[in-house]
Amino acid sequence: MTLLSVEDLVVDHRTPGRPPVRAVAGASLTVEAGEVVGLVGESGCGKSTLARAICGITAPTAGSVAFEDRPVRPLGLRRRDPELTRIQMVFQDPYASLNPRRRVGRQIADGIRDDATPGELLERVGLDAEVAGRYPHEFSGGQRQRIAIARALAARPSLLIGDEPISALDASAQAQVAGLMRSLAVESGAGLLFISHDLSVVRLIADRIAVMYLGKIVETGRTAEVWDDPKHPYTRALLAAIPAPDGSGTLPAELPGDVPNPAAPPSGCRFHPRCPSAMDVCSTREPVPLDGVSCWLYDTAGSAAE
């Protein structure tokens, strides 16, 4: 049984009077129990929309999301199926995701499924049990994010989703919080889908990496393999853009151009206008994933069939 399987998910954002924006354009992804999957990509590529669709916060236009082989229905007015509350999410900004007018212990207690106490949960995320009586404003950003994690853990999730959980934090707190999420998820046997634009952090905690570009997942693979031998030209560009702290003074490689408008994506492969190794076939036909990579460079049979 696969813990989470997303197949050909399509999510459109509709604004009255404008054409719909296809934020996620057919993404497929799986997360196994006890596995940490890192989802990376530039801002605006649809990472967060994908996460929200997995939780059911945003309704998908097409495709399916299955959690433990059961479909995830979008949130409605009625109470959510208790089984589905075992998907929990940690949001980007802990200044906005915690209620400023309620004590943190009460907020954690909302989700508790068994006989755990808020104090125990706070201790699991490295805070003192006594702080349960305090309000969110009494904590630093890193501590608030720990509280948000404790709140998510209260429901004993089997799938934890972190939507850029570290990007609002100080650099010194980022690695700590990311490591904490990983160890808590792995300890309890839950799966973790960790979304971030910071590849160096994802590399530290993820077992598998999925690289997203303009609504599609272009490459997936084991973290070490993707890091040491990136296949897709976009993954290569992303990795080459990370400045190395080696003291040599080499400027990182630039990926020219901006992410195209998702309302009017390029034809064929979505990366071809920025791709250094684009071929004729790239602008006309969309590549299909082969061994986790969606690129005509590796699908010689497919591109020859043109």
Partner: protein
Amino acid sequence: MTILAIEELTVELGGRRLIRGIDLALEAGKVHGLAGESGSGKTMTGLAVLGLLPHGARPGGTISLGGTDLLALAPKEMNKRRGSEIGMVFQDPSTSLHPMLSVGRQLTDPMRHHLKLDRRQARERAAELLGKVRIPDPEGALGRYPHHFSGGMRQRIAIAIALACDPQVLIADEPTTALDVTVQAGILRLLRGLCDDLGLAVLLITHDLGVMSSVADVISVMRDGRLVETGPRAQVMREPADPYTRALLDALPDRSTP
């Protein structure tokens, strides 16, 4: 050639000493990196140079630019220099640009004020500057607003504004922290190029040692309001003299795999 010399700078705020005596010398055509954890006083140092310290802060020591001590200047004199001789780029371009003024207005205002250019001259220069920071269609961009641009483009515009009056010194406070790595690479190349072409003295404040290693010529490491180490890039990054610098470098994930 030293353009800006900071000597024995101290900053006191609410009875606490945030900066406890630092010395920095910024040279023309060189990027001087200032590294350190959050709360170490990096940003305060940048703000002190611009005379933008928070209300109630008491600076001490000297910051001399071309023979004048900026800390001793009257507010009116400081206003003349801020934005003309010293430019600044802030972390988040979505908050440092005014959302309701056109890019052209934000670019021409400082030039008209400091350089006393007329409307047409200022517009011409503004378009030229946008070209220099590689904004596509500079003429057209002047009439657009910040929300029309992506994060990387906004930061380029913010850099163009900082350069509007030909400053000698550019203070860049975490200029790429809010950006994607791919965009960051472009901004770093731009900063390096501008520094080389215009002979700017750049103070680059960042916590990212990777960024530091790719553009800075000289690196200073700050901790608790003091400088623990200053030296050429290669030496600080490869053979740090101070244990704190070594601890910072050892904390980097990429360090274990050469």
